[in-house]
């Protein structure tokens, strides 16, 4: 028995030692692993632990202001009080919302959005209940704070525009970043961050945006902030000084306001500074920031007067008679005609089987170039265009800034269209017809221009030497004015030819028989030179021409003529150029010219250099012999 137990005991001891050894070995494995993790790879894990623990939070910089040429703010930031709801602090979210609905306006739609966001986010993340609270609402919430567990008032910044919808096209608006716009800047991923979506806000967005600050926060595994470890302030966005004159912009909109759809551009003929850039109707830029309802959006989009379009740079119109200066210069400079050429207008001209009509049924009789501009005789320009040819006209038009985007610092500018033989072959696939040259000669047919291009054209005519270019920014904060950096190319048109044209434009406004005599500037020394234009948007049928051409007022709005007027002033020492387009407004002389006159006079009045020591004598230039007429 004992012996038996002895051998068993020995076997047990032997095996116990083996077992102990094995367990010691396994413990050694644990020690080795500990050494590996905590000594050899410790550095890597320390970094990973910090990555876990530390959260960078961006601090959005305040957006730069936009100021007018005199330093008056047009777009700035205002403190925006908003109510936030932190779900975990509200024992009963529904009850809190009920109480809140009695204090501030809260739609059923808002309510559903809030509840949805609360469900989606973690309970300590604040959800926006409503933005843009006024003082009364804020104080009502604060007074009732004990009944509103979880509701806090927060101050954010929102964009306000001094001009409201009057500057909406020019300044654009800011709104939340869309998925497509996500880029390198981490600011863009910040919820609630706004970027410029159109206008100056978009063009200079990077400058206005500034640089983000950052805050290093210690967070737990759920993302809740425990404390701030470090903070770096960002760089606020740059202020931008525009060339725009806030008061003049307002004045221009006032003048266009009663038109359904119109645009006007005022610019300095020497520097290219744009003083006013108006387009009506406008839209409320803050509506896009705070969020549009579906029905509001629908009504904007379906509005036939296209309130979202900046017609000053994106509206393309046949220039009509305002194109005639370019045709005249093309013919003169190429030697196709001489300034003394006289053409007999009997109301129409014949080319092959086709008959081309002058706007004046009975004809103008014998006219020279000055007369032709003054009376806007179409037959003269049919002849000038026929002699010059379309390609020469196109070349001159390009020299005056037509047919190409002007390069103004605004998004969405369109190039218009100046046709050439080559263009038609390529785009339409059919060879150029001679008759089309005649139609182009009076600014109809394929020719399309934007109001801004017309202003640039007029400014170059007035300047006479340089291809001035339009721009909107006078100065970036701390930077140079882009205008100073800009060297304009020479225009390369002879002054003799220009003198004839300007003479004609002077007669348009200041000769008693000029097409815009009734819209002249009477102050001595401020007189303007201009050109009316009325561009057809429909074809006048043979039948209609034989019986009676319908008056504008008798046609539906969409079929009425566009009214155009371009001008500069003062005529003897040009300072400012203007282009006005009233969509489907009727005749240029009756509709567009008075608007242009008023704006131009206001521009001169506001000129701090006192461009003209104008008197209100109202004498003007002595009237010529011939009888004044209505033009087309």
């Amino acid at each position: 028995m004992y012996r038996e137990d002895n051998t068993r005991s020995k076997a047990f001891s032997r095996r116990a030692l083996i077992l102990g050894g094995a367990q010691l070995g396994l413990a050694g494995v644990l020690v080795g692993r500990m050494y590996q993790l905590q000594v050899l790879e410790s550095h890597r894990y320390k970094m990973l632990a910090d990555e876990n623990r530390i959260n960078m939070r961006l601090l959005p910089p305040p957006r730069g202001r936009i100021l007018d040429r005199f330093g008056v703010p047009i777009a700035e930031n205002r403190e925006n009080y908003r109510a936030l709801l932190i779900a975990e602090q509200a024992p009963d979210v529904e009850r809190t919302l009920d109480t809140l609905t009695r204090l501030i306006q809260l739609s059923e739609y808002d309510r559903r959005r809030i509840l949805r966001e609360i469900r989606r986010r973690r309970s300590f993340v604040p959800v926006t209940v409503r933005e843009n609270l006024d003082w009364q609402e804020v104080s009502r919430i604060e007074v009732n704070a004990p009944d509103l567990p979880g509701v806090v008032i927060d101050v954010g910044q929102s964009r306000v525009y001094a001009l409201g919808e009057r500057g909406a096209h020019l300044l654009g608006y800011v709104a939340a970043v869309s998925e497509k716009e996500q880029g390198d800047d981490p600011l863009l991923e910040l919820p609630g961050f706004r970027i410029g979506k159109s206008g100056v806000e978009k063009e200079y967005d990077i400058k206005l945006r500034g640089k983000a600050g950052s805050s290093q926060l210690e967070v737990n595994a759920l993302g809740r902030v425990i404390r701030e470890l470090d903070r770096q302030e960002g760089q606020p966005g740059h202020d931008i000084h525009l060339t725009i004159d806030l008061a003049l912009q307002n004045f221009a909109i006032d003048k266009l306001q009663d038109k359904k759809s119109a645009a006007a551009v005022v610019m300095d003929v020497n520097s290219g500074e744009v003083l006013a850039l108006a387009s009506v109707p406008g839209f409320d830029p803050t509506a896009f920031n705070t969020g549009l309802s579906r029905s509001d959006w629908q009504s904007i989009v379906s509005n036939p007067y296209a309130p979202l379009t900046n017609k000053a740079v994106s509206g393309q119109y046949a220039p009509g008679s305002t194109f005639k200066m370019v045709v005249a210069l093309a013919a003169l400079e190429s030697g196709a005609i001489s300034p003394d050429l006289r053409v007999f207008c009997r109301g129409h001209t014949q080319l092959g089987n086709a008959r081309f009509h002058c706007w004046k049924k009975g004809g103008h009789g014998w006219v020279d170039m000055r007369d032709a501009i003054q009376h806007s005789c179409d037959v003269y320009f049919y002849e000038a265009a026929r002699r010059a040819g379309i390609d020469r006209i196109a070349e001159m038009a390009k020299r005056f800034g037509l047919g190409d985007a002007t390069g103004i610092d605004l998004p969405g500018e369109r190039a218009g269209l100046i046709p050439t033989r080559k263009w038609k072959k390529g785009a339409v696939g059919v060879a150029w017809q001679k008759g089309e040259t005649l139609v182009a000669g009076i600014g109809q047919g394929f020719v399309l221009t934007t109001p801004l291009q017309l202003a640039v054209m007029t400014a170059r005519l007035a300047n006479g030497r340089l291809k001035i270019k339009p721009h909107l920014v006078r100065q970036l904060e701390g930077g140079k004015a882009p205008a100073e950096a800009q060297k304009f190319d020479a225009l390369g048109v002879s002054s003799e030819a220009l003198r004839v044209i300007v003479d004609g434009m002077n007669a348009v406004a200041n000769d008693r028989h000029g097409t815009a005599y009734r819209a002249r500037i009477e102050e001595e020394g401020w007189e303007m030179a201009g050109k009316t234009g009325t561009s057809q948007v429909r074809r006048i049928s043979k039948h209609e021409r034989d019986t009676r051409v319908l008056k504008n007022e008798e046609r539906p709005w969409k079929e009425r003529d566009h009214a155009l007027f371009v001008a500069f002033a003062p005529v003897h020492a040009p300072r400012y150029a203007i282009a006005v387009v009233v969509e489907h407004g009727g005749g240029g002389s009756a509709v567009a010219a008075p608007i242009a006159r008023d704006i131009l006079r206001e521009t001169l009045r506001r000129d701090p250099t006192g461009a003209g020591a104008a008197t209100t004598a109202g004498k003007g230039v002595p009237p010529p012999a011939r009888k004044g007429e209505r033009e087309a």
């Binding site: 068993r8 076997a11 102990g20 020690v31 500990m34 050494y35 410790s42 320390k46």
Partner: protein, 383 residues
């Protein structure tokens, strides 16, 4: 050979038993448990509630049980080993049935101050039953393959039940503990090799029988970083916590991983990670050293005990304890899949604490009655 006088003098008095009791061992357990209370205090961000205080209370209850078991004659435990086994097996079947009938998978019995998991207690009772069986076996008996059928049934029944729960960690621990006793009893090495080969061969079958989450755990164990936010999250965060602790740690209550809740289950399965984050490798090695001391003590007792039952119980309990330690620490360091084995005496949880202390009670009983000789038939040789 030295004659044992004590055994010949009949039953031991209480004084003799207390004299034979290893107070040093008790102190060692208290030190380890104390470390546990400290970690639970830290896990609760510097509060005794809800974990540390309740854990201390359970430890106190456990110590009383330990003493009671230790002072009870080892022969009584030998006699009732099968009875205890059957009782606990019945409880195991009971919760299994209740778990099936009831709505959830309730695997415990509520004793008021603790919720007792029969599977935990089974680990210890299984040691008793196997020790009882092999106590009466000569080496020749053990050589006969047929002799091993009964003990295999003893192991197999609870393992199958536990696997059905499904609790892979407990099943593995039971199997390994049983293997230790088989090994110590003298079962031939080639038989282990044979079983080992059979297990390897059965792995594909086992894989096909596994629950989805069990498979996922094994897969993420093999490559935790493939799914850093999903199932691999626990292992990865645990390794980050351990590694970032470095040699000396981040300081008591300053473990960022633990206190910012990146570390899951920091008061239970991952408490070693928290310790190693706050006290570094130094803290980890200290605790491991204390555990090794317990182990050495267990071996010393086993070699000193003069009856086969006591020897087998002593090393069976020690082995169970070792597997707890090894599997848990290897698991939080990413060496083994996360199978849900607590760190003994430290992890928050009543059943594990109690079953460990009960186990040590049997170990102590073997030590206190080390000089008692017991015949192969379960009676004192001098009876």
């Amino acid at each position: 050979m030295r004659l044992n006088l004590t055994a010949d003098r009949g039953p031991m008095t209480l004084g003799q038993k207390l004299w034979h009791f290893s107070w040093f061992f008790l102190l060692l357990l208290c030190v380890i448990a104390g470390i546990g209370f400290g970690m639970l205090y830290s896990a609760a961000n510097g509060a005794w509630d809800p974990w540390a205080s309740r854990q201390a209370m359970r430890f106190g209850v456990g110590l009383v049980l330990l003493l009671a078991i230790a002072l009870t004659d080892i022969r009584i435990w030998l006699r009732y080993a099968y009875v205890l086994y059957v009782l606990v097996l019945a409880l195991l079947v009971g919760v299994e049935v209740m778990g099936v009938i009831g709505m959830g998978a309730q695997r415990w019995i509520d004793l008021g101050f603790i919720q007792l998991q029969p599977s935990e207690v089974m680990k210890i009772v299984l040691v008793l039953a196997l020790a009882r069986y092999f106590h009466g076996a000569s080496l020749e008996d053990i050589g006969r393959p047929g002799f091993l059928v009964f003990p295999l049934v003893l192991v197999g029944a609870p393992v199958v039940l536990v696997l059905r729960q499904p609790d892979l960690g407990t099943a593995i621990m039971m199997t390994m503990t049983a293997a230790v006793i088989f090994f110590l009893a003298g079962v031939r090495m080639w038989k282990f090799a044979l079983v080992g080969a059979a297990v390897l061969g059965a792995l594909p079958v086992a894989w096909s029988l596994m629950h989805g989450y069990q498979r996922r755990r094994i897969l993420t164990f093999l490559d935790p970083e493939s799914d850093p936010l999903g199932a691999g999250y626990h292992i990865l965060q645990s390794k980050i916590a351990l590694g970032s602790g470095g040699v000396l740690g981040k300081g008591f209550m300053h473990g960022s991983q633990s206190h910012l809740n990146f570390l899951p289950e920091k008061q239970t399965d991952f408490i070693f990670t928290m310790l190693a984050e706050e006290f570094g490798m130094a803290g980890g090695l200290t605790l491991l050293g204390l555990y090794m001391l317990v182990l050495v003590f267990g071996f010393a007792i086993a070699l000193r005990v003069r009856n086969q039952f006591g020897r087998l119980v002593a090393l069976g309990v020690t082995g169970t304890f070792f597997f707890y330690v090894f599997i848990n620490i290897a698991m939080v360091m990413g060496l083994l899949p996360v199978v849900g084995v607590p760190l003994p005496l430290i992890s928050y949880g009543g059943t594990a604490m109690l079953s460990i202390l009960i186990g040590f009670g049997f170990l102590m009983s073997a030590y206190v009655h080390r000089d008692v000789r017991i015949s192969r038939h379960g009676t004192s040789e001098d009876d």
